[in-house]
Amino acid sequence: MADATLHTSDARPALVSRPHVPEREAAPATHAEQPAATRLAAREYHLYYGTHHALKNISLEIPSGSVTAIIGPSGCGKSTLLRSFNRMNDLIPGVRVMGGLVVSGQDVFGAATDVVELRRRVGMVFQRPNPFPKSVFENVAFGLRMLGVNDRAALAPRVEQSLRRAALWDEVRDRLDNSALQLSGGQQQRLCIARCLAVEPEVILMDEPASALDPTATGRIEELILDLKGRYTIVVVTHNMQQAARISDRTAFLLQGELVEYDDTRRVFTSPREKLTEDYITGRFG
């Protein structure tokens, strides 16, 4: 059953072949400076959990300043792909990758790449709001403190700016020293976004950022994503097809670890090239 829906992939390279070899000529550094340049790229990217082939030969380019939605049924590898761009999968034992990922022209798996520095440039917002059990202020200041900024006078303007950008400032300006856990779920998620903005990332990865929130809070997160578009390159994993259609410029459809279709959102939702995509977005499976 599972194999019947798979594309017959002939590009299944042997495991010994060129681990982590980037295709440098494909993403020269100059791209990063052009307005519609590629911010994120995957090149024949494979990922294995032990023997499980979770991502198969993914190649895509995500333009700078855009919002890209990754859709697909549970277990199709959406989150795994998302978490590849800031190497969060490094935390899971037994993960191996092949092929290349590029962020702003830099090879994600290159020997010269500093993971800590990469994660500052590629921020992440998780499915469940996960503020630290610290004050609102300290949550937003966390990333800066880790960079060695410890002077409250220097931190305060950055914290305010980040909270304003995350559309949370007006709600928390009078309780910056209260515990972040006293905020509502939706506020906590916007706080997590503010926390991520404070370290000035280029890319924000969002893993189903609204799936734990009520419709009103979800609407605010979606508005916020549209606000942040342009300044940041945003990749959103979502289960919600309407959400993908509302907020994204481009949509990638993943199925069982393979990239079935990747195109402008309008096109994916109105006239998809692949039959599988059409079946999925019209709710015939998934």
Binding site: E117, R119, N130, F132, M146
Partner: protein
């Protein structure tokens, strides 16, 4: 909340007992007897504690005077106080905690975050920790004598060209032996509390560009602190009461002075109880002192625990955003 929103029709009838009365009664019967049995077991524990505490407080209360707490033992320990033993116990426990916490917490952090879980070395460490917890305390005492005093202490003396200073029973060796005894407790409780810090907290920190050490220092340890304190509480409670590990490593039968340096011997409450009960030339004369000493030992342990529990409660409240 539900009580006010629901119409008050009294307790809902048990659907099972309505449909199959006979069967339901049988279930009820075994349920009732089990409740009674477990209730009796719980009552027995309360009774035992009450009897022990009552006996000690009843017999020891009148002995515990200011003179008893602050004085030295006199007339072959049939008169006088137990101040050197109180002083020695507090010093011993404090030194033990100082040695124990960095080692125990460090080992737990390493096991939880840095160790490759499938390597033989990690498995060996875990195996050792669990087995260490099962070793009888008297064996720790002998180990302390053989390792700390006869090996480490003597080597220090030889290296420094001293006579016998370190190579004899002393406060520092007794504290280290006790720390060793409690090491598994602290490692296990610390690792357990690190594990209960949600994975998303760790990921949030790393995703913000914090290094692994920064994540430990600023996210994991603060949230694991109540659990680490639990380990310390258990260690203190056990450390203050254990006699066997300090028997050969530093506790003294009687000293006319207080310990001034880590290489001095010391008197200790638990050991003093043992001495009063078995080594006294006149057991009848020492009996009131014995009750008093036990009472002080219990109160001291209780006080140390209470302090740690209060600190832990404050930390928890702060973590939950109520501080």
């Amino acid at each position: 909340m539900t009580a006010t929103s629901l119409p008050t029709t009294g307790p809902a009838p048990d659907p099972l007992s309505e449909r199959v009365p006979g069967r339901a009664r049988r279930v009820d019967l075994s349920g009732t007897s089990f409740t009674a049995l477990s209730g009796f077991a719980a009552l027995l524990i309360v009774l035992m504690v009450a009897v022990i505490l009552g006996e000690i407080v009843w017999n020891g209360w009148s002995t515990v005077t200011w003179e008893f707490l602050a004085g030295l033992p006199r007339e072959g320990m049939t008169k006088g106080g137990i101040f050197p033993a109180i002083y020695g116990t507090v010093l011993l426990v404090v030194l033990m905690v100082v040695a124990l916490i960095p080692f125990g917490v460090g080992a737990a952090i390493w096991l939880h975050l840095y160790a490759r879980q499938d390597s033989w070395f990690t498995k060996a460490v875990r195996f050792a920790v669990h087995n260490l917890a099962g070793v009888p305390s008297i064996v720790f005492g002998l180990f302390g004598l053989g390792f700390f005093i006869q090996f480490v202490g003597r080597e220090i003396d030889r290296a420094l060209g001293l006579d016998v200073v370190w190579g004899q029973p002393a406060l520092v060796w007794a504290a280290l032996t006790l720390a060793l005894l409690n090491l598994p407790v602290v490692i296990v409780t610390t690792e357990e509390s690190l594990r209960t810090v949600a994975r998303d907290q760790r990921e949030a920190s790393l995703a913000l560009g914090a290094t692994r050490w920064q994540t430990v220092r600023h996210v994991l340890l603060p949230q694991a602190l109540p659990g680490i304190l639990t380990g310390a509480i258990l260690a203190v409670a056990r450390g203050a009461g254990e006699v066997a590990p300090i028997l050969f490593t530093g506790a003294a039968y009687f000293l006319p002075f207080l310990p001034k340096s880590p290489t001095d011997q010391f008197m200790e409450l638990g050991y003093h109880v043992f001495v009063l009960a078995t080594q006294s030339p006149d057991v009848d004369a020492t009996r009131p002192l014995l009750y008093g000493t036990v009472l002080v030992l219990l109160l001291l342990t209780f006080l140390l625990n209470l302090t740690a529990i209060l600190i832990r409660a404050r930390l928890r409240a702060r973590l939950l955003g109520r501080g």
